[in-house]
Amino acid sequence: MFEYEFMRTALVAGSLVAVVAGAVGFFLILRNLTFAGHALSHVGFAGATGAALVGASPLWGLLAFTLLAALAMGFLGARLRGRDIAVGIILSLALGLGVLFLYLYTANASQATAILFGNVLGVDTQTVRALLVLTVVSLSALAFISRPLLFATLAPELAEARGVSLRRVAMLFLLIVAIAVAEAAQVVGVLLVFALMVAPAATALRLTARVGWGVALAVALALAETWAGIALAYGTDWPTTFCIVAVSCGCYFLSLLRRPGQSASANAAH
């Protein structure tokens, strides 16, 4: 399968996205924000279709909308808690707007399917270059904030007393999540971002109790699952998105067979 350029491009694009999705997803779960990631991707749908309507690249439209939504979430912060109804209505509006933009942009229906369900085999080299930049930016930013992020996530009250601005950390992290969502949507589409961002990290958290190993394992699983999914799609001719999602969800279900925390008790030394 490596003889085809679109396959090589797909593997590179998938890898760039998987690294970000795995690492960001790990903190997303620790912070109990998985549905914020889901919500961002829905808002991104309106951005992607809107961009297509005005002739811009859907990736940039998606990114603009997820970043804006992340800023809004960050500013509202704790006030959003328990506002499921308001958030749900905004999400419906975003998806509805996306449908309107698609209706106005009558060129072809495959564009809509690509945005909703992803099309990693159709990624062009220009997009790969954009993904590379986004991956470098988001991973550097995540590395930069990772220490206060972990502190603010696990011990927020103590972190605040030690001078960490919980608000600033939360905001920066949401912006990183916005980039990760926009990237992940290129591979599995806005509707299935959850599978790529949450499933590998959730699996990792069931296999190790260590933070360092957890991040590494989440990244490794996201990479392996993406590659396996693309290879499976190549072999079966089924949609790539289905194959990636099936593999990553399958791994998660397998990890459920194991009681969490076993490894931690087994090797106490560090």
Binding site: S146, R147, L154, R162, L205, A209, G214, G261
Partner: protein, 264 residues
């Protein structure tokens, strides 16, 4: 130099005066039990000492300087703790997350921070606990890790906000004994807020009782009296001694029992 010095300090929360023109001095190495009815300002006082809340008036000094947020001289066990208990992260990693947590960058946990984490875990005798994931630990065990976290960076002052919350009575005495040992071994000044007086009777050097915007600081014999407490509660209070235990009784019943918990 005093560990903590309040000079006519007034503290307010959401424009409500909690403590009014309070003056007192706490010496280095003292174990102070902090008591008072709900809303008397126990947590507010700790937050002011941490620099999270500025006095409306008066001068507050911690080891001779006005408190600043991020002061490394103070270790803190907060009352409201994030629900980390469901996370299956290793206790060791949880404690270590606080190391230099206020600095940007990647937590690499190289040799020096690792040694510091092991040091505080040894102090609270939680070396073995730390190898287990949080989701398998009891409330008392998680609290020992929180205490270890508060000891990171060798603070000279330990602010413990309601450590008895969600603890079985059996663990209460064990917690007090542990904190007392830390106070003695490390020469740390301790402020320990609680509703229950008796578990702390033997450990405390002095009592700080808050109420009605006022404060009384002194030995148990000086402060836990009908006269002082009646003034602080603004209602008649009796103190009854039963088998070396003190019962603080108002017209409505025993005051320092577990009845009221969540404090401001």
């Amino acid at each position: 130099m005093d560990a903590i010095r309040l000079d006519r300090v007034t503290l307010a929360r959401a424009k409500r005066i909690v403590l009014s023109e309070v003056s007192l001095a706490i010496h280095p190495g003292e174990f102070i039990g902090v008591f008072g009815p709900n809303g008397a300002g126990k947590t507010t006082l700790l937050q002011a000492i941490l620099g999270l809340l500025r006095p409306v008036a008066g001068r507050l000094e911690v080891f001779g300087v006005a408190p600043m947020r991020g002061n490394r001289l103070a270790g803190y066990l907060p009352q409201h703790r994030a629900s980390v208990a469901e996370l299956c992260l290793r206790g060791w990693d949880f404690v270590a997350s606080a190391i230099d947590g206020d600095r940007w960058g990647v937590p690499l946990w190289t040799r020096a921070p690792r040694r510091e984490v092991d040091r505080v875990l040894a102090i609270v005798e939680a070396d073995r606990l730390a190898a287990r994931p949080l989701c398998e630990l009891s409330g008392g065990e998680v609290q020992r890790l929180l205490l270890a976290q508060a000891l990171l960076g060798q603070p000279k002052l330990l602010l413990l906000d309601e450590p008895f919350l969600s603890l079985d009575p059996h663990f209460q005495q064990a917690t007090v004994d542990l904190v007392k040992r830390i106070q003695k071994d490390q020469g740390i000044t301790v402020l320990f807020t609680a509703h229950e007086l008796n578990p702390l009777l033997d450990a405390m050097d002095r009592v700080l009782y808050l109420g009605q915007g006022r404060a009384a600081l002194g030995t148990v014999a000086e402060v836990i009296t009908s006269e002082v407490l009646s003034r602080l509660y603004g209602a008649p209070i009796d103190v009854v001694q039963v088998d070396h235990r003190l019962l603080v009784v108002s017209g409505h019943g025993v005051v320092d029992a577990d009845a009221h918990r969540h404090d401001v």
